[in-house]
C-alpha cells in the first residue's frame, strides 16, 4: 500500500475518526485507525471503532498501490500535528515487516502497523431505508436533549436519547429521572412506512453533534439516518457514525408531562440566567438548591449555605396569578435548559411548589420543553 495525501485533509480526517477509538485498550487494535483504499481511483477510507461506536470518513489521496492497514490513532495524530500545514505526506506500508514508512520533506517516521484483517468489521448501512433530514435541524434537536440523559449509568436506557421518527415528526426525548427534555421537529414529505423508535446512547449523539459542528462551515448539509438490526446509522457527506442501540422499554414519558399548568410566568432568558448564576454562588455545593419566589411582576431568587452565607436577587417577570409561589430547584438543571434555548423569553409553567415544572421557549412553546422536578425545602 502506498499513497500521498495532503497533510491538512488527513489531519482533520484522523482527528475526526479518532474520537471512536477505545480509550482504555483491551484489544490494542481498537486504538488504531483502519486505513484502506480499494483501487488507485477510489478515495482513502478511515475507520475507528470501540466495538459499540464507530466513525468512518474518506478523503482524496494519490493512491500508488491500493491496500489496507491499521495505525495507532494517537501516534498518527501526533505526527500530523507536527508536520507543516499544506505539506504533502507520503505513506508506504510494508506488510511483511508490518511497518509504515511516513515521509514529509526532511522528516521520516517508521510506525508499527497491525494487520487490517484483525480490525473488527463495522456494520454496513442498507442505504435504501435511510431517511434524509436537515443536518442543522438534527443537530439542534440533539443539542436540546442530550444533556438531560443520565450521565451515571450510560449503558442503562436512561443513558440514551429516545428517538422517534414518524412520517411527519421527529421526536427526541431524554430523562435522567430528575428532569426531562423533549424536542419535536415537524417533517415534510417523508416517505416512511411506519413509525421508527430507538434508544440511542447519548454519547453517540454528542460525538455526532461535535463532528457535525466542527467539521464544516456548510450548515446547509443533510444527514441520513437509519435504524437497522439494533444499530443506528448517522451519516453526513463528510463522515458516518454507527452505534449500537440501547435495549429496553423507554419510560412512558408522555404521562410525566403535565397537560395543563395553572401557574404560568414569562421572563427574559438572559436575565434569568444571570440572576440564577449570581444567586447560585451561595447555593449549598452538595444540594445546588436555589429557591425562586414568584409574585405579581417579580421573581426573587435566594440561596444559602450554613456557615458560608446567603444570596438574594430579583428581576421583573410577567406573572399574574393571585397566589405567590415559592419553588426550589437544583439550579444546574434550570441553567442547562436555559442554555440550549434560542428565544429571548422563556415560559415557566407549573401546578405548584412540588409539581413538575416546564421551561419552554416563549416563541416556540410546542417545539421544545424541559421538565425539571422541584426540590422540597424545609
Amino acid at each position: 500500500m502506498k499513497f500521498t495525501v495532503h497533510r491538512d485533509d488527513f489531519y482533520l480526517a484522523v482527528n475526526s475518526v479518532q474520537r471512536a477509538t477505545a480509550t482504555r485498550v483491551i484489544q490494542p487494535i481498537l486504538a488504531n485507525i483502519l486505513i484502506e483504499c480499494e483501487s488507485s481511483t477510489a478515495p482513502l477510507k478511515l475507520s475507528a471503532t470501540d466495538l459499540d461506536f464507530s466513525l468512518q470518513t474518506s478523503l482524496n489521496a494519490e493512491i500508488s498501490i491500493p491496500g489496507r492497514t491499521t495505525l495507532s490513532a494517537k501516534k498518527l495524530s501526533e505526527i500530523l500535528a507536527k508536520l507543516p500545514s499544506k505539506a504533502m505526506v507520503q505513506f508506504e506500508i510494508d506488510p511483511v515487516v508490518q511497518s509504515c514508512h511516513i515521509s514529509c520533506g526532511s522528516s521520516v517516521f517508521d510506525m508499527r502497523t497491525l494487520p487490517a484483517e484483525e480490525f473488527p468489521s463495522i456494520p454496513v448501512i442498507d442505504s435504501t431505508s435511510a431517511i434524509e433530514l436537515s443536518l442543522p435541524k438534527l443537530v439542534q434537536c440533539i443539542k436540546q436533549t442530550e444533556f438531560a440523559a443520565s450521565k451515571t449509568d450510560t449503558n442503562n436506557i436512561l443513558g440514551g436519547v429516545f428517538f422517534k421518527l414518524s412520517p411527519d415528526m421527529l421526536d427526541l426525548v431524554s430523562t435522567d429521572g430528575s428532569r426531562l427534555a423533549r424536542r419535536k421537529e415537524s417533517l415534510e414529505g417523508l416517505t416512511l412506512a411506519e413509525t421508527v423508535t430507538a434508544i440511542i446512547p447519548a454519547r453517540t449523539l454528542q460525538e455526532f453533534m461535535k463532528l457535525a459542528q466542527t467539521n464544516s462551515g456548510e450548515q446547509t448539509d443533510t444527514a441520513l439516518v437509519a435504524i437497522q438490526n439494533g444499530q443506528v446509522f448517522l451519516s453526513t457527506t463528510r463522515f458516518n457514525a454507527v452505534s449500537r442501540l440501547l435495549d429496553g422499554q423507554y419510560p412512558r414519558y408522555e404521562q410525566l408531562i403535565p397537560r395543563e399548568c395553572k401557574l404560568q410566568a414569562k421572563m427574559n432568558r438572559a436575565a434569568l440566567t444571570a440572576a440564577l448564576e449570581r444567586t447560585a454562588v451561595m447555593a449549598n455545593e452538595r444540594t445546588s438548591i436555589v429557591r425562586m419566589t414568584l409574585s405579581q411582576g417579580q421573581l426573587v431568587l435566594a440561596a444559602d449555605t450554613p456557615d458560608v452565607g446567603n444570596s438574594k436577587d430579583m428581576m421583573p417577570i410577567h406573572y399574574d396569578a393571585s397566589e405567590d409561589l415559592t419553588i426550589a430547584f437544583n439550579f444546574r438543571f434550570v441553567l442547562d435548559a436555559l442554555k440550549v434555548m434560542d428565544g429571548d423569553d422563556v415560559l415557566m409553567e407549573t401546578n405548584g411548589a412540588l409539581a413538575p415544572t416546564l421551561f419552554k421557549d416563549a416563541d416556540t412553546p410546542d417545539a421544545y420543553l424541559c421538565l425539571v422536578m422541584p426540590v422540597q425545602v424545609k
Copy 2:
C-alpha cells in the same frame, strides 16, 4: 467597616492576591483575604498569605467607615465574577454578627467573616534598603531561569532560584541536577554596599512573574527588591510579594559550567524547535531521549520506541569540526531552553558526547546559558 468599590478594580485585586491563599487549608483563615482601610482617605488594602508566601495590593474605594475584616477569597471572587462589569459594589461589615453584607443593583449577599485579628501578620519591608530594578528585565531574568529549578522537592534549595545582586550585575541561576540555567543582567548606577545573595523559592518568582505580566500593559514599570531577615520582598506599583527564603548553601555552579568548548554549532532556533518536536513524537515516553548527530553543515535528529516506531529529521546548521558528534538529550530539557530564548539563532557548545552541553542565544551568548547534561545511549 463600610465601603463602595468599582467591581472591575476589586475583581482584579481579589484575583491577584488570591494566588497566595492556602489551597489545602489547615487554618481556615488562610483561605481568606484580609481587607483593611485605615481612614476614609486611605486606599483599600488586600492581603493573602499561606504563611510562606504573601501577596498584597491596594486600590481606591469610597470608604464610609474604616475598618478590617477577612472574607473567603474563593466566594468573594465567585461573587465578583458574576456581578456586571463597571458596576459599583457596596460592602458593609457587621463585626458583632461576623457578617459582610454585599449589595450591587438588585443582588445582595451575606457572607461570613473571620476576625482580622486572627489573620497572620505579613513581614513589613524596610524600604530604605530596597533596590530598584527594571520590571521587564527582572521578569525576563525570572522567565529564563525558573523552569530549571527542581519541581519535585520544592522545599529543598534546588527548588529555588539562586539570586545574586552585585553593584553592577544581577545573576539568576537554577538547577535541578540535570540542567542549569543562568542569566546575567548588567546593572548601572546601583548603590549597593555589598553583594547580596538569596535562594528564592521558584514558586514565588513564578507567581511574581505571572502577576507582573497579567496585571499591566505598562511594561515600563520598575520593581523594588529587598532581602531582609530570611525574607524576599518584591514590589511593583501594583502589588507586593513577600516570601521566605530557602535555607542552605547553593551548589557551586560556576565549576559545573565548562569555560571552553571545543565543539561549537550554530543553528536556527525555530527550525531546531520544530525538528525536535517532530522527532520527539517517537521518543520513548519513559526516557524522552532524542539523539542529535552533528556533521559538517547538517544536524540529524532521531528517536525510537521499541514496538511503536522511530523518527528521523534533518536540518542545515553551521558546524565546522572535522569530527562528527552524536549526543543524546532528554528533549524536554532542550525545548525548555529554546522556548525562553529570544534570538533567531542558538549556539550549541560541548566538549563531547557525555560532557555538559551549553545552549546560548547567539546574539547575547554572555547574558544567558542553559546547560543540559547529555544522556548515555546504548
